[in-house]
Each structure stands twice: as C-alpha cells, then as structure tokens.
C-alpha cells in the first residue's frame, strides 16, 4: 500500500499518523475512508500527523480539504501536525496554509483543541 495509516488516541483527541504517498488512487482514497470512519464514530477532535508523508499531489491536497470540511460540518476540528517542506510549500502556494491550524509540536497541538 502506498500510504500507511495508524490511529491512536491521546485523551479525547484522535491522532492519525500518515506515512507514505498521498496521491490519486490508493493513497488518497485510504485517507478519505479513514477520516470518514472517524467522523462516523463521532470523533470530533482529529489531528493528522504528516511527519512521514513523502509525497502529496493535488488529489491528496483535495482530500485534506475534504476531510477538513467533513469534520467541521460534523461539529468537529481537524488539525495538521509536522508538515514537511513539500506539504507546507504546497499548502502555502494554494493559499490553504492559513485555513488549517498547523502545529509543529504534538503536545501543543493536542492542547489547542477546544474543550
């Protein structure tokens, strides 16, 4: 599989560690399905750890946006953690960097979720 997903719970925050390639096909659809499952289980605080994302294309960016909207529409929050240069540059070029709440420290990210 091009992307590996690992979900863990830190208090009431669901952290999804994403590793590999989030590209059109297997990668982006796996992340989409995982986020939808979390929303269906009423998980309201979701933190995507992208530290080990080696590649993301516009389809992957689209899934991040879709996930953000889906979680927000269900009354929750989706935040991003540990963006590497590639992902950060892409989000900045597409003017999405300021849309997402982006963190570089997991503990701080966890604390930032509204009670």
């Amino acid at each position: 599989m091009s992307v590996k997903l690992n979900t863990r719970q830190v208090g009431d925050v669901s952290v999804m560690d994403v590793a590999g390639r989030i590209t059109l096909g297997e990668g982006s659809s796996a992340m989409r399905d995982a986020l939808r499952e979390m929303v269906s289980k009423s998980q309201k605080k979701i933190l995507l750890n992208l530290a080990d994302v080696s590649y993301i294309d516009s389809s992957g960016i689209g899934e991040l946006v879709s996930g953000f909207t889906t979680v927000a529409n269900s009354g929750g929050q989706l935040k991003l953690l540990n963006l590497n240069k590639r992902v950060k540059d892409l989000l900045q070029i597409t003017k999405l960097y300021t849309v997402f709440d982006v963190h570089e420290d997991e503990a701080a990210a966890i604390r930032s979720f509204a009670a």
Binding site: T23, G25, S58, S59, G62, I93, T94, L96
Partner: protein, 146 residues
Amino acid sequence: MRENQPRATETLERSLDSTLESVDKAEEIVVGMAQRAGFDEDDLMKIGMAVRESMVNAVVHGNRYSDRKKVRFSVAHSPGELRVTIADEGEGFDFEHLPDPLAPENLMATSGRGIFLIRSFMDEFQMKHLDPGGTEVTLVKFVVSK
C-alpha cells in the same frame, strides 16, 4: 515559447496506457532525466509534480482510463532546458476558462488545483487542442546556473 529549440542531448518518447501506473512511470522517467540534466532537489520535486499532474489530467480527465486510448508522452533534455509533452485522446475541454483555485469561492474545493500547480512549478506551460480530439500540454523548465 522559444522558436528555435536547441538540439536535444537526450530524448525519449512513449505511448502510455491510460493508467495510474503510467502516471508513476512518466514521473519517474522525467525526474531521472532532470536529475541527469543537473536540476537541484527543489526543481526535481517541482518537475516531478508538474508531470504527475499533467499525466493525471491526461489519464483521468482526458482518456478516462480507457484501455482503448493512449497517452503520447515525450521528454527532451537540451542545453538549457527540459521539455515534456503529454497528449491525450479525449474529447478536449475549455482550458481557456478554468476556475481560479485561489478565488475565495473555490479555495475549499476538493479538486481543480492541478493546472495551477503545473503553472506554478514550470517556467513555461502551454495547452493545445488537438484535431480531431484531445489535448496536448507542453511543460518547460529552464536549467539555471547557480
């Protein structure tokens, strides 16, 4: 577009199936050639991504994954530039009036950023309607002495 194209030092042409595997293959080929041409890591990332986005457009939107349609792919390294051409056999589309993905009303769209990224990453990008059908794109990145 530069009218007098320099003589190519390395060229490659392929007729590719309309699959996601072809997208990977094309990207790999171009990044390899770009590496040999001396592009740095940052440019390799940009070139690879621009090729990927162009191939996805050809495979997914142009040829709609049809096993009866091919993607015509060529890459050439000449002194000073890398030039990639990708053509599909689809129905064509109105690329003169694409929505702006940075416009506030489009910012949260889940698609529509591919061509914008290609333009951002390449030094030249041109699109052409093909007769009797299909779209051809040309991507150029100039080698800059650093």
